[in-house]
Symmetry: C2
């Protein structure tokens, strides 16, 4: 016989989900109402406005897809691409590879522009690819690579896309509300994100936004979108601006309560203040990590404040460290992915979790755990460095 | 400036979402943990076992898709079909039409077998279609048509599919935990459902199950599944039986807590007892509705207890009735869909909402509202009939 599940109270400092605010959890559990209830329609309008603000866009077609970020990615590619299209995909980590998968499953061709994992996307390489592929219809890249902790220069990459008359498709799963992201100013045509990163909401929804240029393309497709569930032509009729909402699918009502509350918290703090907070605690964390004797694999100018890829010291069983942190400290940090597996830990400071307590907890827990396993680290220096940072 | 959203406390007696138990809402809001946390992996195993019991199946590949029922439908079709395949789709309402959409968007051909809305799928017509289309690879139909309130004879239809060596694909969105559904005994190869109907969980997940025959087909595809997000070849590695779980996408962790709790409630009550409870309150409701002077459009032998399509009396503004019920009674009932729009209300008695209080509330609210609008109804007789039913 099964019994009710009571999860442990973790501190989530992996690559997401991040710690969810009690306010968001409280909103999540409010009574369910119908997805066509006028009160719910009003909430949808409010979510749309708050999302537009978070994305810094006036795009009419801005909404949360009713599924996790991977589905948001698929919504973007499957709506914008048709069989035979050519797309330039810049890859510098796991999620560029997933973009390639999506492009190919739409029957389109992905021209891959590769950069080493741990480096940002190189605009020069993209420009070469654009010159060599004048028939490309879109450029796609990951703004904040969750697998490596790297920030690419989205503004420069989008400008290149625009210069060569390509749509600019941006993965902002980990960047939204964590670092500067300006959908309209940068000329982004399609962007998708997730709720479980710097919004600190529960996982399960994927905010997306499409420019007028992108909508024109979707409206004028020759073939139907291969996914019915993700077909924006249909979803627009449910999320549209008029009062008549056509039923498409049953929205995840309670998850929308939670998203609304998390967006409200971003609005209350101020988007720019949220970006600055992420950077502030990242600086404290880095000061501590370096004083501890460890290093980040990403150069300072390309680091994501919200996702820190920390090099694993030689001779250390990285999985044992994570297990110990989870079991003894209730602290989750992330493993490396793909070619960085066993080489880095991924330590998130996302949204609600980007705070002083978590920075100090992580430095303390990681330092003492590594010391107990014989690594040449200096936990006292780490704590001192972080304290000094915060006391300035 | 936006502010926190506090939904009204509705009684949900539409076509879903249905009323969610406070137990399920409490589970939903427990602290988020990581989707690769060992505690969460344990929960996944538990959910799988509980889902197998609810579906009455031993199918290894039984899990909730991380998106609403429409995505579950798409998961089934996009995994089982390849371009050029021929599928027989039986349609007797809205959702058979959605199946056709899905089949065609996979590049496959849908041979449509049409029955009038309000009637069950006719096995004889299916048999004729099977004889005429010996190259069909699958038969698909809706077990419980939410748009009409009709139950089709899933067992007979699946037997026909098997006889003609076709896979049997069943939409059980509204049937799971509400009426008899025996995936293994009936020879169902692929089935999908929703959480927001007779499980009385929040909307957003879609339980699915695939037979060994279906898995073999998925494993031996010539083309990749066109959806990366829904590709069962990848999802199996996350939901697989061994302890090594490969990351695919971030699971909607809190929604899974809620699903687990709702499945637990089914287990505690007993699946057969839940079916009987739905039938019991349906009988009371019908007694009341008929005494009120209204009628159901579906003949008694094909009625779904959990979804009652009530004919709208002549001269009544059906939308005004629903609006009044919502505003003055906080009671949601559903409008007709498609060809039944403005002809019926759809009144759900699903899961947690299938109880005596809701039956009496609905009869009372609907009766007095119709009377105030001048309809020839007898509210006192309706209440008397329901009370008599319950007092026997």
């Amino acid at each position: 016989m099964s019994k009710s599940f009571f999860p442990p109270q973790r501190t989530l400092m992996g690559p997401g989900p991040s710690d969810v605010s009690p306010r968001v959890l409280a909103a999540l559990s409010r009574p369910t109402i119908g997805h066509l209830d006028p009160e719910f329609i009003g909430l949808m309008d409010d979510i749309k406005g708050l999302l537009q603000a978070a994305f810094k866009t006036g795009n009419e077609l801005t909404l949360p897809v009713s599924a996790p970020g991977s589905a948001g990615m698929e919504a973007v590619f499957s709506n914008l691409l048709e069989a035979g299209d050519k797309v330039i995909v810049c890859q510098n980590g796991v999620f560029g590879g997933r973009m390639q998968e999506n492009v190919e499953r739409c029957g389109a061709t992905a021209i891959m522009v590769q950069d080493d994992w741990g480096l940002p996307v190189d605009p020069d390489k993209l420009e070469q690819a654009l010159v060599s592929n004048p028939d490309a219809v879109a450029v796609a890249f990951v703004h904040a690579e969750t697998s490596t902790g790297v920030r690419s220069d989205a503004q420069a990459l989008c400008a290149l896309a625009r210069q060569f008359d390509c749509l600019a498709i941006v993965d902002a799963v980990t960047s939204l509300a964590g670092i500067e992201l300006c959908v309209d100013d940068w000329g982004i045509d399609a962007v998708y994100s997730g709720t479980q990163k710097c919004l600190s909401c529960v996982p399960g929804l994927s905010p997306v936004s499409f420019s007028e240029r992108a909508i024109t393309r979707i409206r004028n497709r020759r073939q139907r979108v291969q996914s019915w569930f993700l077909d924006m032509n249909l979803i627009m009729d449910y999320w549209g601006g008029d009062s008549k909402r056509s039923y498409h699918h049953t929205a995840p009502v309670n998850a929308m309560y939670a998203l609304h509350e998390s967006l409200l918290m971003v609005q209350e703090e101020g988007l720019e203040a949220a970006w600055a907070r992420h950077d502030h605690h990242h600086q404290a964390f880095v000061a501590g990590i370096e004083a501890l004797g460890l290093s980040l694999i990403v150069s300072p100018d390309a680091r994501l404040p919200q996702l820190n890829a920390v090099e694993i010291p030689p001779g250390i069983d990285e999985a044992a460290v994570r297990r110990h942190l989870l079991q003894s400290w209730n602290l989750e940090i992330g493993a490396g992915l793909g070619s960085l597996a066993t080489k880095v830990w991924r330590i998130g400071l996302m949204g609600h979790a980007a705070n002083q307590q978590n920075v100090l907890l992580c430095l303390s827990a990681l330092g003492s755990t590594l010391q107990s396993m014989g690594a040449a680290v200096n936990p006292d220096a780490a704590m001192a460095a972080a304290h000094e940072f915060y006391s300035v």
